[in-house]
Structures are given as structure tokens and as C-alpha cells.
């Protein structure tokens, strides 16, 4: 029969292995890069490569990185959005279950729509000062300013 001490050693080793493998995976998968603002991090997975390439040739590449348009302002909102999207994207990419062509979700579309107004508020205000039943969507017409792909 196993004594308590032996059991504790096995348990500790198991935890150690889990932590070590986890740490290695985190580093191997460049997990830390997701905490940065680097657009390269978004293209860690090859599925985003075309979007990334398209962005480098877009009109906005000199003034906005992925996070400027795809996360809301403020540290909390930014990391909550990163977390939610990160989870869904990882799950989809790992399982390979996602429809193509890729489409933006309503929540993320709303984030992007607001992002336009961060920088272009003056001109948008001028346009939207005319009362309308529905709010205008910038990206409906300007769908290629970020990345055509």
C-alpha cells in the first residue's frame, strides 16, 4: 500500500509536469505576444495571414494596428475583448470548425464601427447630425480601408 508521502510526491510531480508543459506551450505558442499591441501577434495563426498582408498595404497601416480598430478603448474593454475573441478564435482554429469566408460577429462589428469614430468623430458628427432612423455604418461603404481581405 502506498504511503501518504509517496502519494504526495506523485501528486507534486504531476502538478509540476502540468505547469512545465503549460509554460512551454505558452512560450512555444507565443502566448505572451497576445498581451502586446504587435499586429504580428494576430497573424500567429496562419488563418489571419491574408488579413495581415492586406493590412500592410491598406490606407490605415501607418496610423492604426489591429487593436486600434478591433478592440474598444480602455484597458478593461480591450483585454475583455481580447480574451473573448482569443478564446473563440483558439477554439475554432484548434478544432477546425468554422465557416468560410470568415465573417465578423455583430459584437466585433460594433467595436470596429465605434473605432472609426474615435479618430473621425468630427466628420461623422457632421454626417450624422441629420436625424435618421438608423445609424449609418462606416464600414458598409469603406469596407476596404483596414484590409481588403
Amino acid at each position: 500500500m502506498l504511503t501518504g508521502r509517496v502519494l504526495q510526491t506523485i501528486s507534486a510531480s504531476a502538478v509540476g509536469v502540468a505547469v512545465a508543459v503549460g509554460a512551454y506551450t505558452f512560450i512555444y505558442a507565443r502566448g505572451y505576444s497576445y498581451l502586446t499591441n504587435d499586429p504580428g501577434a494576430c497573424a500567429n495563426c496562419h488563418i489571419m495571414r491574408d488579413h495581415f498582408n492586406a493590412w500592410t498595404r491598406s490606407s490605415h497601416h501607418a496610423v492604426a494596428v489591429c487593436n486600434d480598430c478591433h478592440t474598444p478603448p480602455g484597458i478593461v474593454g480591450k483585454y475583455v475583448t481580447k480574451g473573448v475573441n482569443g478564446f473563440h478564435h483558439s477554439l475554432a482554429f484548434t478544432t477546425g470548425r468554422f465557416p468560410e469566408p470568415l465573417r465578423i460577429t455583430p459584437r466585433n462589428a460594433a467595436v470596429t464601427e465605434k473605432a472609426c469614430r474615435k479618430c473621425h468623430s468630427e466628420i461623422v458628427q457632421a454626417i450624422e447630425s441629420h436625424r435618421r432612423a438608423e445609424q449609418l455604418s462606416c464600414i458598409r461603404c469603406h469596407s476596404t480601408v483596414g484590409h481588403l481581405e
Binding site: 502519494l7 506523485i10 504531476a14 502538478v15 509536469v17 502540468a18 508543459v21 512555444y28 505558442a29 469566408p101
Partner: protein, 475 residues
Amino acid sequence: MQTPEGGRRWMSGIGPTVLTTVIAGLVALAVVALLVNIFQRRQEARNPFYRVVELTDDTEDPAVWGKNFPLQYDQYRRTVDQVRTRYGGSEAVPRTPTLVDPRSVVAQSRLEEDPRLKTMWAGYAFAQDFREERGHAFMLDDQTFTERQQVAKQPGTCINCHASVYVPYKKLGGGDLFKGFEKMNQMPYSEARTHVKHPVACIDCHDSTTMALRVTRPAFIEGIRAVKASQGTPNYDVNTMAPRQEMRAYVCGQCHVEYYFKGAEKRLTFPWSKGLRVEQILSYYEENPHDDWTHAETGAPVLKAQHPEFEMWNQGIHARSGVACADCHMPYVRVGALKISDHHIRSPVLNINNACQTCHKWPEEELRQRVYGIQDRVLALRNRAMDSLVALIGDLREARSRGIAEDHLALPRKLQRHAQFMLDFVEAENSMGFHAPQEALRILGESIDYSRQGQLALRGAPVPGPPAPAKPPAR
């Protein structure tokens, strides 16, 4: 059996330790699985291509190319699929094989669907057997065994677009593509048939070393040179001067075009030196006199429009916007980490998600209805034009039987030739007008007018007739 007391002891003793071990073990297991998955995804992204065989400019067999490009080859082989769309595609119709025609499956007969076609093509082999086209995979068989082969003597020229001819041309010409082309044009079909093995294959559109697109058909090289010369660019060489996006249409335009066999040497020629529009093509045939056959019922010297997809597409909004054939008929598709052109060439209506929705962000059903809406209108007018033409042919036949002098028939016959070619230009074009909706309707409208003028002319009324070959309306 554990007593409640025993359970408490377990909880305070070895229980948590065991539980921790199990959980840590499972976590480690999951993380390792994730690690392996990440590794696999990285590998996917790394090497898109393994060269397992050497391809040369003489590698004809697509199965050999398929060893290096298994994904594209797999898609290419799927053109055997027979699927109907509302106005195209094909249906698998069973038939009893015979000695001359061993096919057990063919496509539906267009002549049975619309018997007016027999009237339009009276005296020509097409009135004998004309079926809906099947996929690329069947191009060689369907031509070899069509009944048209038995009722008319076809030249070797026909093979140009029904087989992989690049390597056979080079062999025949002793390395010279154009010489081989000329030699095969002059052979009877049955002899030419022995020189080819495959339907259109990789080498017909791709350079074997770089995989870049390449035009291999002499008739297109000459045809597009004539078009460019008419637009003010002399000595155009398509393989060195065309940008890649244009090549994505040109390789298809090697065959999906209007053509004729020029002179006794049966040289395959695209009638493009005046331009690609239907009246420019018609006036080419006036200046370089050519009739495909003499109409059996009216004696009119008439023309058969072939399948002018390339010409029609050129008049449409998609061409105007820089959208090439391959963008809709071979849309990009993701396979693993790769993005490749879908080599399963087919109707975009069967693949709306990849073919249309990349640019048109509307629901699939909405896009399908837009396409069918255009095609329904074109079909309705095509039927009117067909009725008009059949009426003119009937009047001409009747006038002939009354023994009207030949010179009184000249103008009505000329009008039949024009009406018929314009109608056939839309009829033979494989998109029911979609490639250029307004152009298709305009052509049909003019066809109806020519039929009307023909009937009037027979009754001795003065009519303007077709315009003398002149400058067409500017774009």
C-alpha cells in the same frame, strides 16, 4: 463498504492528493494535446509544396502533375460531376452504348428541349445532335462520340479545344507549336484523334517549371494580338505582356470563344481583328467572306455562333471591374493552411459562398435570385427572338416554294444571317446572358428587329437592312 466516518478520513487523508494528481494529469494531457495541435498548424503553414516528380514541358499526363499538386488535381478530377443549374449544368441521362458510341451516360439533348433549334440549324450537323455541355472531364469523349461526327466530316482543328494539345502540337511540329497546330488542323478528325490522349490538362494553362499561367493555343495568341492591334497596341505577345489578372481570363479565352476554320487549311481563327462585339465579329465575316453552311430551308449563307463566353464577358460589368473568369469559376478556397484556386471548375451558382459572397455581402438566396432574375429575362427575350427567326425562316421557305426570283431573296437572306447569328450569339453563350446582361438583351433586341425587317423585305417593303461594316457604337 465505506462508513461515513471512513469517507471523512479519506477526505482528510489521501483523497485530495489523489484528486490533485488526477486533475494535474488531465491538465498535462490536454496541454500536450494542444501543443501537438499548435505544432501541426505551424507545420501546415510551413510547406505548401513537395516536389516528388520532375515536371517538364513535355509532361502531358495530369496524374503526374497531380503527384506534386494533389489538392489541385483532386479538384480538377471533380469536373466529372453532373449537376443542373436553372439554365445550365448538365443532367446525367442514361443511354444504351452502341458500337460507334460506347457512352452509357450523356447530357440532356438541347434539340429535344427546344425543337426550334433544328429549324435554325437546318442543314448543319448541329441539327442532328446537340446536347448540354458536360464538365471538362468529358470534353474529349463527348466530341469523339457525338453524332455530328457521323453526319459530317470534321477536321482535326476541332481537337484544339477538346484535348490537351500542347505536347502533341510540339511533337507534330518538331518542337514548333505553330507548325504542329497547322499540321493537325489539316488532318481528318479521326487521324488527329490518335495524337491526343487527355482532355484539357495542367500543361494547357500552366508553365511546368514556374506554374505561372501560360497561353498555349496559337489561335488565341493570334486572336488577342489582332484585338490589341485594333486598339492601338501592335505586336502584342500575350505570354510576356499580359498581367496575371488578365491571364486568369485569357487562359479560359483560349477556347470559350467564337471561332471559324479559315480557308482550305482549316486554320482555327478567332474573328477579332475589328473587336470583340457581336457586330464587329459580323462585319469581320462580311469583310473576310465566310459562311458556316447554307441553310437547308432558305438557302441563306449562315453562320453558327459557337460559345462566345469570353467575348460576352468582356462587355459586362464584371470584366469592367477587373473580375476574371477564374475569380468566379475557380474562386479561392482554403484547404488546411493553403489558399488555392478551386480547380473544380463549375457554375458559380453552385458555389455562391466562395464565388460571389467574397465581394457581394448579401445572403446566398438573394444572390441566387439576382442571377435567376437576369437569366429569366434573357430567356424570355431569347424565346421571342427564336419565334421571330422561325417565322422569317418560314416566310423565306414559302417564298422560295412560290418560285420568287433569287435576287429578291438576297436581302431577306442577309437579314436572316444577321438575325440568326445574333440570336445564336446569346443562345450558344453559356450563361443565359449573365456574363453581360444588358449586352445580351441588346443583341436579342437587334436580332428580333432583323427578323422583322426580313419579313418586311420579303413583302417588298423598304427596310434599312443591316448596317454596312462601319465603326460600332463606342463604349
